[in-house]
Structures are given as C-alpha cells and as structure tokens.
Point group: C2
DNA sequence: TACCAATTTGCAGACGATCCCGATAAGGGG
DNA sequence: CCCCTTATCGGGATCGTCTGCAAATTGGTA
C-alpha cells in the first residue's frame, strides 16, 4: 500500500493565502498579534482547502497532543464487562469526558491498567511515552497509588485524582462521599429507623472510609448506635451477600441498610428475599452508584447518584486549562444526589413521627 | 511550563548500543535482516533505558499510527448515556476492541459522529486528517452511509462495516441477524405458539430487514401466518410501546412477541402489564441485544445475545493485518446465541406437543 | 585466491507543525 | 518630522522516527 501522506498541509494553506507557515500556525492556535484582516484571509484559505492540522505533527513539534488519558482499573473493568453487570464508570467517564473534550478540540482515550501488579509503573510509563497525553485522569483505586501519582508528578504531566482526598500532587475531585452517606442516613433516620446497617467498600479506596465516617456521624448526631452495624465488602455481589447476611442475622436486626455499591445492594435484596423480608416494609435499602440496573430491580432502588460524568467533565476542563491557569490545590467536591425510589419506607412499628 | 520532550529517544538507544538509528528502528519494527547478536544487543539497550517509541513521531514519518477508530452514532449514544438505559454497544465495543488492540500494541479510540447531518463527511474527514488512524470501524447506521464508506475508500483507509450486508468497499461483519431471528422464532414455534408478533427496527438499519426476513422465513416454514404481525419501532422504548400496543390490541392477539431491542422489549412488558397479561403464561417474549438490564426485569428476558465484543474483536484483527494480508470480500458472520430466561413458556391452551 | 551476490548496516533527507529570534511595519510622543 | 516602542510577520532550526539508497560486510563458489 502506498505511503499515506497528509492531503492538505499547513504549507498548502500558507501558499494559498500568500503568507508564511508561521502566520498560519498563529491563526490555528488563536495566538494574539495577528491583524484581523490577515486572520480572516488565512481562515478563508483553511476553510476552502479543508485543512486540519495533523495531531501527530503538532505533538512532534513540542506542543500539545490534544489528548486526555483516563486510567481505569483493568481487572475490575474487564470483570464488569464480562459479567455484563454494567460498567457505569466507563460509561459515565466517557459521557462526561468525551463530550467536554469535544468542546475544546481534545480527545479522550481510556486506558486499562492493572492495579495489583509490580509493573504498574512501567506499564503506565510506557503508555505515557507512547501517547504523550496533555493530561491524565486517575480513577479509584489508581488515584491513591503513590507510584502512579509520583510518576506523573515527576514528568510534569497535569493529572486529576478522582475520589481521593489524600494529600499529594494533582487535582483532587471527590463526589463528597462523607456528605452523601450522611444524607442517606439522615433520610432513613427521618423515616423512623433506629438501627441502620452500613456495608462499606474495601479499604484501598479511601472513599470507603469517608462514607463510613458520614454514616457514623449522622448516626451519632441522631443519638443512634453504630456498634456492630458496619460490615465490609469489595463492591461486588458475593462479598456484599456475606455482609448482608451478617447484618440480617444480628439478634437485633437492622431495619435499614445502606450499601456502598449497587452490586452489594442487589445482594442485600437477595439476602432479604431469602429471609422472607419484604422491601421496603420490613427492610429499607439505600444504594450507592445509581447505575442503570437499579431502576429494574424489585423494588427499584433508592440510591445516591454518583455524578461521575460531571466530575470527569470538571477534571477535563481543569486539565485542559492547566498550562495557562494553575491547578487548584484544594479538593473540589461535586455534590451527589439522593434519588428516591421504592426501596425505602417508614421503619416497621414506628408511628408517624 | 517547560516544553516537554521525550525522555528517551531512539538516538539514546543507538548511542547506548553503539549502532545507527536505522538499526534500532529495524529492531523495533521487527524487520528482517538484522543479525541475532545485533538484535539482542539493541533490545538490551531498549530494555535498560526503558525506551518506548513515540507514536506521534512514528506517524509523522509516514508509518503507522497504531490507532483504530471506532465510529458510533452521537445522538443515539448520548441519549443512552443520559437516559442511563445502558450503552451496551459502546461497552461491548470497548471490551472487544480495546483488549484485542492491546494484544497487538494498538489503541482504540471511540468517536461520536452525527448521522443525520449534512456535514458528516466534513466531520469525519477532519477526524481522519487529525488522527490518521490505521483502520476504522463503522457501527450501524454509519456502516451503510455511502458518504462515509466512499470517503474512507478514497483515502485508502482500511475499514470494517459492522451489521451491514450491503455490497461495497470495506470488510463486512454481521451478527447473522437473519439466522438469529429465525432461531428465536423456531424456539417459540416449538413451544406451540402459532401467532408470533415481531417488532422490527428502523429501516435505515439494514439488519432490521434481515431480522424480519428470518422471522418471516421461519414462520412460513412452519406454515404460520405473518400478515399484520410485524410492527416497527426505532429501537427505543416509546416507539416500542406503540408497536406493542398495536400487536396486543389485535383481534387475534399474538401469544408471543419478538422485539428487535431490549428497550422495545421492556415496552412489551409494560404493554402486557397494562392489559393484565402475565409473562410468560399469557405472553411469551424474546428480546434482541441481551444488555445487562434483561437479567433484572420481571421476569428476566430470554434474549438473542449480540456478540458485539467478539465481532469488533474480529474486525480489529483484520484491520491490523490489512497492510499485509488482503481484506476478505465476503461478509463474515459471527453467530448469535439464544439466552433462555423466564420470559418464554408454552403457548396458552396448547397441550404438550 | 578472487570474485560476485546476498545480507547487514549506516547516512542523509523527509514528514508536518511549532518555537526562537530577527526583521519589518505600525503607532505615539516630543 | 524623527525616533522609539510595540504590534505583526517571516526564516530557519527542531522534534523523533521512518524511507530510500549507498556502503560495508559476509559467505559461497569458481
């Protein structure tokens, strides 16, 4: 096959407009110090010839790659794909990220990286060298991996850490997990529940901790006990089931459970069914994530919506602006929302407050 | 910020190994005519320095971009994202595409393109010029857009058309829609159903037609009528509901319905509920797609699984091999599978066959 | 031993855009 | 009207890799 060359280059445009390459370049990059008349003339040539700059060449000559890289956990993502349990993170990342990138003439690429592997550093390092992105978005649990953050910081590549409050380099964006958990808890308290169980996520996600903190704070504020009411899972169905069983087998069984992911909440529904507990009459349930499945369960789940798309969108904007405006040092909180559906109701035996 | 340069270039490797740039290049690209000893020496330097070639520079010098572009319909994809109805196409494309790309050292990028727009051609053309991908994957309905296929053919960019049997340039890969529809129909016939309705997809997807053909053929083979039993939707919920209503309001109501998408099948469930028809006792239902939601409906849906991931994976492999081996002219069929769940049962009033 | 062909290696140029810096043109105060 | 500052524009080098061709090496044969 014949070697493929660029159809229209900056040179053609320059000739057509009768100006230098430099001037065309300035117009493309919207640089100042170009007279309006000149700018118009060049733009006309660009439009007429249908010229589009080659990103490869732009990157080569030391400028931007117009590429934002989004890093996801390989193992987790593939498991979700294979199991067809829905990959809401990827979906919502793409929604928020791609659309925002589009607006600014950038592209987003998703890259899967192994979390639990010795060569995370090499793997990512190679990707960076090959692609040379202008910015990187780290999703949990990568956002808390010091090897990764260290590597990016060393290379001076702007990056965003989603869902992490740990101090360190990079922009931090969270979905205010503490507040969200408190909000869910308060809702249940207001419905008269006094024993509210919580199923936390794994420890290597710091947001797991923040959610527990929010729940505990709201419980204590309401003067309610928390001892023995917090179990732990890994966001997946199986561990969620174990945790749910433990909570529902307690002598003084909770009348409501909040679980840190939709999959774990599905497990709670299953555990309740096994015990002939009706949701929401005997047990109220609130979930985290609000992925598509929660609308189709029986009953549909009340859930804390994680505004992933919006968060990623904010991250993209900040990264794109990075060369010009300094990155915010303080974490940015994007507020979650409690989407009410049929899985919660008044506490059994509680009169109207 | 300081201009970012490549950390380790081919030049460093060449110096380190004491050879010319050329030789290093040959080793990287696995070209013949390099003595084993030399190859080993260069490879050692590459490993030691952690060298990774810059894709931008590779593309610049006229070789590959190691990039496969997957084109999806913007409007449809965004609507699915926003509505959180599940975007199985994007998900499964990424699953099949990214993993296969990874294996070959390629990357996949998803690009959203407006289907119903005058400037499809310009939009795509600009993307091609900017990214210069080594291959393009077109999903329906883009796979049948002559403007797009013509453009790619003219630029000599290898491309794959998913879900289209139309003659023309490019590799064609289908999920054997005709056979799948026939398979679903036969299943219902074997359960004793005699009036089997079909809800087709929109006309601008040629696969819609093939599915109808498969259904009609299976019906006629069984000596069953088809008149008035085929309605049409646009794959979405609302039009699916209209179609379902029409079928269920027929004087001689069908006892089974096959719908061409999961969303339309959800609408069938809704329409059945409105009329107090029990699924599967009064009405059997089979869906197309098998997206994650179908496991959570009541009852879970029997569905024709669309092997999107596998199909895209095949497409990627063929595109990557394109420069060396010629592209197959005949369409490639990837067989779908009928996943049986609770939404089908024997026809009401039919004794065991 | 000498010679020719095939294999292996190196040199210079190209790819398309940007960056640095110098040259020219425009504008403003004395 | 002149000079100096600032806004505009252009020339040449550069980025990292590959392609085309020439040079050097190897190996086998007459």
């Amino acid at each position: 096959m014949a070697r493929r060359r660029q159809a229209v280059t900056i040179r053609h445009v320059a000739e057509d407009a009768g100006v230098s390459l430099q001037t065309v370049s300035r117009v493309i990059n919207k640089e100042p110090n170009v007279r309006p008349a000149m700018k118009e003339r060049v733009q006309a040539s660009i439009d007429r010839l249908g010229y589009v700059p080659s990103i490869a060449a732009q990157r080569m000559s030391g400028s931007r790659s117009y590429l934002i890289l989004a890093i996801n956990d390989r193992e987790k993502t593939i498991a979700e794909w294979r199991g067809r349990s829905g990959t809401d993170w990827v979906d919502q990342m793409l929604l928020g990220g791609m659309l925002t990138c589009d607006e600014h003439g950038y592209r987003m690429m998703v890259e899967l990286v192994d979390t639990h592997s010795d060569h995370v550093e090499r793997e990512l390092s190679a990707t960076i060298a090959a692609l040379q992105p202008d910015g990187v978005i780290l999703t949990p649990p990568h956002s808390e991996n010091p090897l990764i953050t260290g590597l990016l910081a060393k290379r001076h590549i702007p990056f965003a850490r989603i869902g992490s409050l740990d101090p360190g380099p990079g922009i931090r964006l969270t979905m205010d997990d503490e507040h969200s958990a408190a909000m869910a808890t308060e809702k249940l308290v207001s419905l008269g529940h006094r024993r509210i169980g919580f199923i936390a996520g794994p420890d290597d996600y710091s947001l797991s901790g923040w959610r527990v903190t929010g729940w505990r704070a709201a419980m204590e504020f309401a003067g309610l006990p928390t001892d023995g009411l917090c179990e732990k899972g890994d966001f997946g169905f199986e561990t969620g089931l174990e945790a749910a069983n433990k909570l529902l087998d307690l002598e003084d069984r909770p009348t409501a459970i909040i679980a840190s992911s939709d999959q774990m909440t599905l497990a709670v529904l299953e555990a309740a069914r096994d015990r002939n507990l009706k949701v929401p009459q005997d047990l109220s349930v609130i979930s985290f994530d609000n992925t598509p499945v929660v609308r189709f369960t029986d009953p549909p789940l009340t859930a804390v919506d994680q505004p992933i798309a919006e968060t990623i969108s904010r991250a993209v904007e900040l990264l794109i602006m990075a060369p010009k405006s300094p990155l915010p040092l303080e974490p940015i909180n994007v507020q979650g929302q409690l989407i009410e559906r049929g899985s919660i109701g008044p506490a059994p035996g509680a009169n109207d407050a």
